[in-house]
Amino acid sequence: MPVDARQATAYRFEPVVVTTARERLAFFAKATGQRDPVYRDLAAANAAGHPDLPIPPSFYFSLELEQPDPFGWLTALGIDLRRVLHGEQSFRYHAMAYAGDTLTLHPRIVDVAVKKGGALELLTKQTAVTRGDELIAEAVSVIVVRHPEAGA
């Protein structure tokens, strides 16, 4: 079933408020084989001038998943998670953020494009990350929804 572009761009996401524990960032470092102690050890982070473990550059994507049903918006739009691929991801950074910071994420769908005669749909989701009034980062995800039966 094709995605209703008007419904998608009108979809209202609840802001996600998240505080990341130091231990969680150390776990992320372990899972990604990161051996740089700045990302694992508070003393090393402090010695490098950071007040706590830094949120690593791709972890801004993970922040948005910190909610009870992170893929609920896909379900609400009638999209089968098994048909979804991550097409593109980008980040723009304005300031560093750290373990213990309370960050708020503001996602919205900004574009729906149909490709290959309807066999692929591309949803572009843009998320601003703020700490209080300060813009920390912006993340943009392009989600690919496969409709193989619709292809020419």
């Binding site: 969680r24 776990f27 992320f28 372990k30 899972a31 990604t32 084989g33 990161q34 051996r35 740089d36 990302y39 490098a48 830094p54 690593p56 550059p57 791709s58 972890f59 994507f61 993970s62 998943l65 910190e66 992170p70 893929f71 998670l81 098994r82 048909r83 691929l85 991550h86 097409g87 593109e88 991801q89 980008s90 980040f91 723009r92 950074y93 560093m96 943009v140």
Partner: protein, 143 residues
């Protein structure tokens, strides 16, 4: 366990950095099912297609495959191994091909331009058979 190659001080950017300079590449261990399970938990992406063979097969796949964001996290290691993270202004990737379980990614980066103290780095993740799984670029502040 073999130590992965890691950007050290020798690879740190310095004045006079020019287009064509290459970042020290980062070659990973083959991605195990354990790594996928740990990354699912650590990244918060619990999509079962990456960790549950039954679900992968129900979607018509032969096996699970790695999260694209795992490879992007490896590229992040390549970048922050080269410059402190606060110098990273922006980066973007396109996920060009899936990485099968047991795939062994290598992350590479090459400076394509330096303008007004900002270096643009062309990025790629490749598998040993030549498959390019991610392409992208990053902008790094050298000033």
């Amino acid at each position: 366990m073999t130590a992965p190659s890691r950007a050290g001080l020798a690879g740190a950017p310095r004045a006079g950095l020019e287009a064509g300079a290459e970042l020290p590449p980062l070659t990973l261990e083959p991605i195990s099912r354990t790594t996928l399970a740990l990354f699912a938990g650590a990244s918060g992406d619990h999509n079962p297609i990456h960790i549950d063979l039954d679900v992968a097969r129900s979607a018509g796949l032969d096996d699970v495959f790695a999260h694209g964001m795992l490879s992007m996290a490896y590229l992040g290691r390549l970048l922050t191994g080269w410059v402190p993270q606060q110098r990273l202004r922006s980066w973007r990737v396109r996920f060009a091909a899936v990485t099968p379980v047991h795939g062994r990614p290598t992350c590479t980066g090459r400076v394509v331009s330096v303008t007004d103290g900002l270096a643009t780095i062309e990025l790629a993740v490749t598998l040993p058979d030549g498959t390019v799984t991610l392409t992208g670029d990053a902008v790094v502040d050298l000033s």
